[in-house]
Amino acid sequence: MPLAKMKVIPTNIPGLDTLLGGGIPVGSLLIVVGSPGTGKTLLLQQLCFSWTQEQAIENTEASSDETAKKPKAIFFSTLSEPHDKLIQHVGQFEFFDETRLNEQVKLLSLTKAMEQGLGEVADEIVRTARHERATLVTLDSLGGLEDLTEGRGGLRRFLYQLSSQLSTLSITTIVTLERNIDTMNSENELTVADGVIHLTNYRQGVQRVRQAEIRKLRGVNMLDGLHTYQITNAGLTFYPRLESLSETSLNFKGAGKNDQRLSLGLPELEQMLGGGLPTTSSTVVAGSPGTGKTLFNLHYLVAGAEKGEQGLYVGFYESVTQLKDKAQRCGIKLEDMVESGLIDILTITPVELEPDQVMSQIRSKVEAGNIKRVVLDGVIELEMACRWQQRSYNFIAALVNYFKTKEITTCYTYEVAKRVSAELDLGETPFTTLAENLLLFRQVEYQNKLYRVIAILKMRDSAYDSSIREFSIEDDRGIKVLAPTESVRGVLTGIARKLDEDE
């Protein structure tokens, strides 16, 4: 019979616990390895503060003796950096809490012990941790002790002694190591560790990209592969790679004719769709610029909100004010729904987009509420941001899967370059295979005039009206899909004629 599950303590560093599979197993030895400037020291300092924060709350509830039970973390430095300077630096970050400094978080130098050799350094660390009743010990950095080692494997032996003693006392140990992980030999210090967090940064074009990888972590189900992280005034924030969060089996409800349909606020189009969009389905609204895709999305969200369904709009081109103005011109009650909290708007500048960071923002909104409808207006921005890592298909597949598992019905708008054309080329994108429903908005030219037309190109497992229909955008009403008799025909070939012209 397996032993009881290992106790895991959350780090409370945004995103990191997801990467670690919940947190750090108590008593583990973790090594944070990476080149200079990757944020190793900062991560340790942040950990000391975040670690003491959460456990303090936990223990306060469980115990009346708050002071005695408050968790403690120690940051040991092997650098001969003045104490005041160290505090000055860490004090600039939002996670710094002066009230916990010294009482719960101690920043200590090992330089004195280092004069007496590596054995004394280990003894000093264990002795201090024991007397302080610390639950977390961090050491920055292991490289600073290299001069004290005798022969090969000295640091490894030091780490072994340190971690075996501290883990027996249920103290978690995290140390930094400045190394290029890929050129380390197999007999390296990492073999002693229970977990290895690898931090890298490199240039991609003119951008600096920071990525983290949990190389190993015994006792938990960590997330494999690379994940982006950022360093801001808040410290380090990790963004789990969306694909790594995907479930391996497709557990969502399938779309089909018996499924419930969602209204669009556009009765004619709903009729063409066989009653509306199937719940939890994904729909690509493709079209050239200015054809009314965004307006369609606003209709969709407001129609849901009118029934009490929460919606989220994520866009990359128009500000909240622009969206509200556009809706107001067309009589769509977007502003009211935003004010009532039924529709949330997330606008993101499409500059140096980091797909997982965007997803992190979306996920936090989705998981905080009861969102049923989502619009991703300009999803190509996310797809393009994935291209340099060659993860477009996987990312979009994970994106579609994410919303479906949350039972959210999603519309993705996709810009088609050709303004007036019968062609729809989505062949090089993942959308054709992933979209269950495909609507095409475009303009056709007829007698020196442009007409807007809409067509349903695909609906998975569902009957639909495949005719091409003209539509107009009217003040105080928005999109109006015309009846076939009012419309023009032959539009997909670019030869438009009035229905009654030659009959």
């Binding site: 032993l3 108590v26 008593g27 002694q161 006392l169």
Partner: protein, 113 residues
């Protein structure tokens, strides 16, 4: 203190010494028996899984000798201890240690002696 992991033996001994006791060190049950014969300690704190002679066998050997009946024995293990198949120890502790628990245990078992 009986522990085959030398760094843990040092740690355990240091904890006991800081409580004002003298700590004798052995790295398996057989060494411990020789030391008990020689020094007649008041308390034996022993790991369970050790080479040569494990903690259970050590406990059995201590309980067999009439003159050692006053020696208190604490068994420590990372794995669940099977209390049915061996004579009872005076106390049991698990690894990783609850430091305060170990200190309290030592205080209680040595009190009044």
């Amino acid at each position: 203190m009986v522990e085959d992991e030398l760094s843990l033996l040092d740690l355990l001994a240091t904890i006991i010494e800081e409580q004002g006791h003298t700590a004798l060190r052995a790295s398996n049950g057989q060494q411990a028996l020789a030391l008990i014969e020689q020094e007649q300690p008041r308390l034996v704190i022993s790991d369970v899984m050790m080479p040569v002679m494990d903690g259970y066998r050590l406990l059995e050997n201590i309980r067999l000798r009439d003159e050692w009946q006053n020696i208190k024995v604490v068994l420590i293990s990372a794995a669940p201890i099977n209390k049915e198949r061996h004579p009872p120890a005076d106390a049991y502790a698990s690894k990783p240690y609850d430091l305060e628990g170990i200190e309290a245990l030592v205080e209680n078992l040595t009190a009044g002696q």
